[in-house]
């Protein structure tokens, strides 16, 4: 193969930072192409966890001793790094467990206080279950109605249908920034502008965007933006919600407990300042600090460079798969219109079987409905196979994946796989 990548950083140097990439699976060097599910972690992030537990472990926002001060300082400094990474102020960033919890926070704290019977919530059919189910639960309590914007056969959001949905003057538009199945990058600035014009609040699910492309919430101008740490080199169990400052100030708390109060009496309590008002109980301090280390790592490399590198891998994967007559690709064909993942199916082999056979070569891909049953229904499949890339993947790994598809044909081929 003569395809060369033009990446502004040295991929081999990056790979050396990720201990797990040395792992062998079934005698083969691991080829990890399941980054949209979760990313691997660099030594720097793992070290941040160990350093915290070995040197500064203490509870935050209370206690006057040195360790408590250091832990608080490290945790709040991580919040600042995460906030600045998406163009926000730290007061506007609430740490959560993950994107799902961030969306649930908005659904319960903002939704229950602001939605009433008959109000419309606009979602899209390319949403992950985490941006559907919380709204169904809140709609059941409030009597609000859900409207779904479909996607086109090319896998792009149907903007005409969105315009029609906006004519119903929804209270909220909740849309994903990047689809975890189709890879589509949605025009979130345009969506926000149009939704605001009819008075709707806008929530963007950024789980697949922040790890892979520059995101600036001020430029998008959205009201809420949710994302997870674990898909962007940080540990599991830590994520973030950005919300417009005045909304956070107005919203009632999501959970009650320690930390989030100012004064507690027998009858009532008053709340702490934002964002602490939304972080009841001892937070996930260690993982929060490691989230900051993950952001440091990405910033050192440059998120634009990461995006450019992934685009080249995606373009190559699309080029190779498009040439295969027995394979169907889902989502936009133009690699510039999508993030670094490709969903596909063999016409005659179930994706679980594809993933199983590739695993024998140490190649980790995802097969399933990807928590997007509405997309599966529209594509008329029960599942797809998906490869998803990150900054440490190489063009050689894309080629190895493509060659291993012949193993699938060897097992299933004589029955019509090809």
């Amino acid at each position: 193969m003569t395809v060369e990548t033009q990446t502004s950083y040295d991929v081999q140097t990056i790979r050396a930072d990720f201990p797990i990439l040395q792992r062998r699976v079934g005698g083969n060097r691991l080829i990890y192409l399941d980054n949209a599910a979760t990313s691997q972690k660099p030594r720097q992030v793992i070290d941040a966890l160990v350093h915290y537990y070995e040197n500064t472990n203490a509870n935050v926002h209370r206690g006057l001793h040195t360790l408590a001060e250091e832990a608080t300082e490290a945790y709040e400094s991580a919040r600042m790094k995460v906030a600045h990474f998406i163009g926000a102020e730290p007061e506007s960033v609430v740490f959560t467990r993950n994107t799902t919890e961030a969306i649930n926070l908005v659904a319960y704290a903002w939704g229950l206080a602001n939605l009433k019977a008959g109000d419309v919530i606009v979602l899209s059919e390319m949403e992950h279950h985490s941006n559907i189910v919380p709204w169904q639960l809140v709609a059941r309590i409030t009597g609000a109605k859900l409207r779904y914007v479909p996607f086109t056969p090319e896998g792009e959001l149907d903007m005409d249908a969105l315009e029609r949905a906006l004519q119903q003057e929804p209270k909220l538009v909740a849309i994903t920034h990047v689809s975890n199945v189709l890879g589509t990058i949605n025009p979130v600035e345009e969506i926000t502008r149009k939704a605001h014009a009819v008075g709707a609040k806008v929530l963007i699910d950024g789980a697949q965007a922040v790890p892979h492309k520059p995101v600036d919430v001020a430029r998008i101008d959205c009201d809420f933006y949710a994302f997870s740490g674990h898909k962007m080199l940080a540990p599991t169990g830590i994520g973030a919600l950005y919300a417009r400052r005045e909304l956070l100030e107005e919203m009632p708390p999501f959970m009650g407990g320690g930390s989030m109060i100012r004064r507690v009496t027998h009858e009532y309590s008053t709340w702490a300042d934002i964002p602490t008002k939304f972080e009841a109980g001892t937070p996930n301090i260690a993982d929060g600090i490691a989230f900051g280390a993950a952001v440091d790592y990405l910033q050192r490399i440059g998120i634009e460079s990461v995006q450019q590198h992934e685009q080249q891998l995606t373009a190559e994967a699309l080029r190779l798969l498009e040439a295969e007559e027995d394979i169907v690709i889902y989502g936009p064909r133009d690699p510039k219109r999508r993030c670094g993942l490709v969903s596909f199916n063999f016409k005659h082999v179930h994706p679980h079987d594809v993933a199983q056979v590739l695993n024998q070569r140490g190649i980790a891909i995802r097969a399933g409905h990807h928590c997007c049953q509405l997309i599966m229904r529209r594509l008329d499949v029960t599942a797809t196979a998906r490869v998803s890339f990150y900054l440490y993947n190489t063009i050689e790994e894309v080629h190895a994946f493509w060659k291993a598809l012949d193993d699938v044909r060897k097992v299933f081929g004589k029955y019509g796989g090809r």
Binding site: V349, H350, P351, H352, D353, Q356, V357, Q360, A367, G368, H369, Q373, M376, T382, A383, D407, K410, V411, F412, Y415, G416
Partner: protein, 139 residues
């Protein structure tokens, strides 16, 4: 060859040529099974005369293991009494979950499913048809 133990010839053969696939409009016992983790879907139809299964069919979409297992099930229960079907279901379930059971003869197609127990993620695929049968027999 890859995954010999999982992708036994007989499993692939059932997958590509399922024995009793299709709806059974005059079925008197029907149940739907689903594997929410992977989206596999299955409908099992039984037509009984007294306590004897006179016809069994399935419809569904899923991986080779779930579909082959359903094909084997429909083949194996034709003509069995409901009680015999229950005993067979329990025997297959025990085989797939590694519990003590009377092993199947090597020339019985069902013996090919035994290898699945070494692939923990796939056990649910193989079990789908059998848990759907269990649902029916519980009634």
């Amino acid at each position: 060859m890859v995954d010999d133990e999982l992708y036994r010839e007989i499993i692939l053969e059932h997958y590509h040529h399922p024995r009793y696939k299709g709806a059974l409009p005059d079925a008197n016992l029907t149940a739907e099974g689903m594997n929410p983790l992977c989206g596999d879907e299955l409908t099992l139809y039984l037509k009984t005369d007294g306590d004897r299964i006179v016809e069994a069919r399935f419809e569904g979409r899923g991986c080779s293991i779930s579909q082959a297992s359903a094909s084997m099930l429909t083949e194996a229960v034709q003509g069995l009494t409901l009680e015999q079907a229950k005993a067979l279901q329990e025997r297959v379930k025990a085989m797939l979950t590694g519990a003590p059971h009377e092993p199947f003869d090597e020339d019985d197609d069902l013996s090919a499913l035994e290898g699945v127990k070494n692939y923990p993620v796939r056990i649910k695929c193989a079990l789908l048809a059998w848990t759907t049968l269990e649902e029916i027999l519980k009634r």
